[in-house]
Symmetry: C2
């Protein structure tokens, strides 16, 4: 293409012109012409309403969700609106048999994985086993209709079950008041759904981003350890009623050790350990060769069948091996009337629900994003939240507890070749059949097997490789990660969460309170000025100090920035003491990274200007951005400093300073 060749040439030519313009400006004063200095652009003033609209749009509608609605007739907009709420209407039209084949296989695979997990997770949430199955029946159906992720597998998950189990049993004892406990669980589920939907509707989905990746890694790892510890009771067949209700490692290990002499059941341990070995081996095979991903996926079901059969024929339950006993047959009963809408438990349910809803959301959105990125489709986080919220609200009315996307099952779903959310429907149908016909067969399933399945399921959540990477990349992130981890392991899930959020916030605040500043030097043979710490070959310009401020200047850092710049100046002057040539006469502040400035920041610059005047140093600004230059003019700071001392680049600012230095006697 000739035009492109031309553009490359033009590129070359403009650089020569550029050089010319620079050399004129730098030899300013000796030559006749007024120096060619590029003016710093002041963007056209926006009107207030537009500015406000733009801010709102970037904050809440950053992903431009109404893009497809633009320039459409009203009827079409209505159809698009319905389709947006129920994506199944959209993708359903192009659904075909080939896609169904993929969905059927993956649906059956995740169903075989979810049934034993559900029973175990219900146990973790201190609910009867059928509630786990209920939660894998209704919510996936709702999600299939409303959700837009194609790969997520919906159902109860370990971490949320643990969180619910510990928070709810702090309020009500599940053994003495099972009825009230269950009602509070539904109440919490209801408010979890309301929280999720509300965040989605008001487009506040970005709030979950405040739980950083590092914090999640630590939190998940800690939760996995806590869950595994909880399973020790079932795994070792400990029967004592004095087993601690706390979840921290110290109390649990104390309970475990103190029951070692008389409370452990060796038959249970034998069954549990051998099947755990089998499960871990299956996991190993699945990891070794991606083709065998189905091995770890169906292993739990095989374990359940084998162990149930084994217990049934040996009647090991008579020897102290705890079994599941009865699981209620039939599908979900209604639980609308069981939710506490008044009274003392309303507030408690609300509090627990909000927390569980946020955690569930974090997990689901992370999964959705991961697979959307792998298959390269767009996912509207806020719409997802509405779908997940609706699913949990409906769930709370049909005897389900909080369901969300599961990491492990979604990965299996993906690898089994799921195409759409129909795989969730398939899974849901299988769970339905199980509830209707198969539950009596679980009578002799030993609890130890459920413990083994949970332990092998959560073991992957301890992502030590991620922790190592975090350590390498960002030490502060690592502190957040470890804080969350140890908080969960040594205290409670809530405290771990609190630590993670607090450290994440502290990091943000630290960033805005103590922004980086650095001294710039000229890189040899260029007009480029860079951090002299990063580029040791960069040289300072004599008599000129160039400081770059690496952050918006806000009230939280304006004093620091001002004082830090003055300290750079003092340091520099101390170094050059006695050497007249290096007396600093100009201070250039490179403002490229200063994206915004507020009234406190303007004040700080005014004070800086005054302090410098007293020291006989000129303040020069380089490359203020659109927002900053606008505010510098509005506040009359430009007049104070002098409009001619605001430059497009550091190079031009230096060119302004250098001839002056040369004139100096």
């Amino acid at each position: 293409m000739s035009s492109m060749g031309a553009s490359a040439e033009e590129n070359l030519e403009t650089k020569q012109m550029d050089e010319r313009s620079f050399s004129i400006s730098s030899s300013q004063g000796q030559q006749q012409a007024p120096p060619y200095v590029h003016k710093v652009g002041i963007p056209p003033r926006q009107n207030l309403f537009q500015e406000f609209k733009a801010t709102i749009k970037e904050t809440f509608f950053a992903d431009d969700p109404l893009r497809s609605f633009k320039d459409q007739p009203k009827s079409r907009k209505f159809v698009l609106g319905i389709e947006a709420l129920f994506p199944i209407l959209n993708w359903g039209r192009s659904y075909n048999l080939k896609k169904f084949r993929g969905d059927l296989i993956s649906g059956l695979t995740i169903a075989s994985l979810c049934i034993p997990q559900d029973i175990g997770y219900a146990n973790l949430a201190k609910l009867q086993p059928q509630y786990g199955l209920y939660s894998s029946f209704v919510p996936p159906l709702i999600y299939a209709v409303m959700g837009s992720s194609r790969d997520i597998a919906i159902g109860p998950v370990a971490v949320v079950s643990l969180l619910l189990g510990t928070s709810l049993s702090n309020e009500i004892d599940p053994t003495t008041h099972p009825e009230e406990y269950r009602r509070l669980a539904f109440t919490a589920t209801f408010f979890a759904g309301i929280t999720q939907a509300t965040l989605g509707i008001f487009r506040l989905g970005f709030l979950i981003d405040f739980l950083s990746h590092a914090a999640i890694v630590g939190f998940m790892g800690g939760a996995a350890i806590t869950i595994a510890l909880q399973q020790l009771k079932g795994f070792l067949g400990i029967k004592t009623k004095n087993f601690t209700k706390k979840t921290d490692i110290v109390n649990v290990m104390h309970s475990v050790v103190s029951t070692a002499h008389h409370g452990w059941n060796w038959e249970t341990i034998l069954i549990g350990a051998s099947f755990l070995g089998f499960l871990l081996f299956a996991k190993f095979i699945g990891k070794k060769n991606k083709k065998f991903f189905w091995v770890p996926a169906i292993a739990p079901l095989i374990c359940v069948i084998l162990s149930t059969f084994f217990v049934f024929i040996t009647r090991a339950d008579k020897h102290g091996v705890e079994i599941v006993k009865d699981i209620k047959k039939g599908i979900n009963p209604s639980s609308v009337k069981e939710i506490y809408f008044t009274g003392d438990y309303l507030g408690k349910g609300f509090r627990i629900g909000v927390m569980a809803g946020m955690i569930a959301l974090t997990e689901a959105v992370a999964i959705g994003r991961t697979f959307a990125s792998v298959k390269d489709y767009q996912l509207d986080g806020n719409k997802e939240m509405v779908a997940l919220g609706a699913m949990n609200v409906v769930g709370s009315m049909t005897s389900c507890y909080v369901a969300t996307g599961s990491f492990s099952r979604s990965a299996v779903n993906f690898m089994a070749g799921c195409q759409t959310a129909v795989s969730n429907i398939v899974m849901s149908v299988v769970v339905f059949l199980t509830l209707e016909f198969i539950t009596p067969l679980f009578h002799y399933t030993p609890n130890a097997i459920l413990s083994s399945i949970i332990i092998s399921a959560v073991i992957n959540l301890v992502d030590y490789q991620a922790a190592i990477l975090i350590w390498k990349i960002d030490k502060f992130d690592f502190v957040a990660c470890m804080g969350a981890f140890f908080g969960v392991v040594f205290a409670t899930v809530e405290i771990g969460l609190l630590i993670a959020v607090s450290i994440s916030f502290a990091k943000i605040l630290l960033q805005v309170t103590r922004p980086r500043t650095c001294i710039l030097g000229k890189i040899p043979r260029t007009t480029v000025y860079r951090n002299i710490h990063q580029y040791p070959e960069a040289s300072k310009v004599p008599g000129v100090l160039i400081v770059r401020v690496d952050s918006a200047i806000y009230f939280s850092n304006s004093n620091y920035v001002k004082e830090r710049i003055l300290r750079w100046l003092m340091d520099e002057e101390e170094q050059g003491k006695g050497d007249y040539q290096t007396r600093i006469q100009f201070l250039i502040v490179e403002m490229s990274p200063v994206t915004d400035i507020d009234t406190s920041g303007i004040h700080a610059l005014e004070e800086l200007h005054r302090s410098l005047e007293k020291r006989d140093v000129e303040l020069v600004l380089a490359n203020p951005g659109p927002v900053v230059i606008d505010k510098i003019y509005t506040s009359k700071l430009a007049n104070m400093i002098g409009e001619n001392k605001i430059f497009l680049t550091v190079a031009e600012a230096v060119a302004y300073c250098s001839p002056k230095l040369a004139e100096d006697p």
Copy 2:
């Protein structure tokens, strides 16, 4: 200076060289030599401990307080340490008679201003008048020994008195339980001092920066209005006991209006209004001509003397004019045993103390900074906090309530020519003499005069000009300002404070959650790339999209940044649809303003890279900073993107892209 002339020449020469190097790199591929492209510097790896130490230092010791201790013998360090704690030992040695003259005059001036104010402020804090005077006796002495500001005038101030008065009377009724109320006031003062000293010792002084300038303007304005409203009762001579205890404008005005028929006292209004007129006129004169600054300074005392004399001879107190009556004679009694160190009131006193301490600190530090900047001396904020804290702790044990620096009195102190903190000692001595000998003379002082004095003192706190400037510069700041203002006026002082802090935090969070991104274009006849919105003459490079991210990429914004960049790309592609030449082949991310990146940020860049690969767009990075480049290498992201696609400047990155575009068929 020949060397400087040489440096200017060198400047010119290097630019030519620079141009050459650019032209070579842009004609890359056609020529033989490897392109001269500047390598992005990777700073020498710091060891972990050093990095940690540097972060701690910048966070807590940003002002390098130990600078003067460096390289000194031990004995000298000890002396310096004592001097740092008691700056009087330092400046006291060079104190002379000339300085004393200035301090004497200014000390007498602020004493004449503070005595009537103290009595009024004590009233505002719902304490007996002598406690205001006590608080102007001991604290200034302590501050003179420990403080380092030369201009601040110490004593009770209006806003803190109001805050204490409302918060304390929420807990204990000052009319029915004056004893307990006073004890709680001392307890709060004690903890205010402890809070201040603690912040100073742990060098957490930067925390007070989180109350932004705008929020303070709004808060102070609202507090001034509230204080003035509180004075209406005394000013109008309302005697009813049903006068509201709330401070919001609605309740107060309702009380005022409902008592209009039978509760107002016309004699009181006459005295109050005429003296208020006199005070405002004195203020006007002082403002008109700086030389007459002493007119408003001594006007209050004149008012008190005249009005007291007037009431004494007319016996107006018999006609319903309320008078001060007895002020206890003698200096501060000890109150060590009155502080609640146990019991229910300990917690309440602590809470109120922390809040009052922070507000007092904000005011004192703002004053200290302002005058230090005017007279150009350094002030260590953290050391100031220790001094203020010590002063209030001692104060709480000597029957004082929270004292701090007063805006109005410090300004008078400054204009009267104070030289050192000796002016505070002079004031303290005058207050001592007043307490010992003159208090009986205040017997007939009408309360209306105190109200007039307070109204005229706080009226300046309504800084509408600052509010207008804030509106012009930063709309978000204005919202914080108005939020604080209306919160104080229409609800309570605490709610106003809460609103101010919340909005300030929301602003910081918004900044880190939704950072600005922009498209860069080439400014004609330069190699400079700038925001095309700010510089409409800047032109896009065909086939290349250049995006600048204006913030550190952290967990809170990593997803947004990734999606926003992809959206820029989509927008660009939509615009260029059908036009083959403009198909985007390169996405250059200008990273100069990206000061830091964390693990979530690295993940986002990885995902961006993958998404771009699928669209057949190359990701190119320009000018990552030292921290960022380090993390890009550590995380192997550099390998993923390709080390040769990381450039020093946007110009070089474009030079890399352009010849490739030219080769395209």
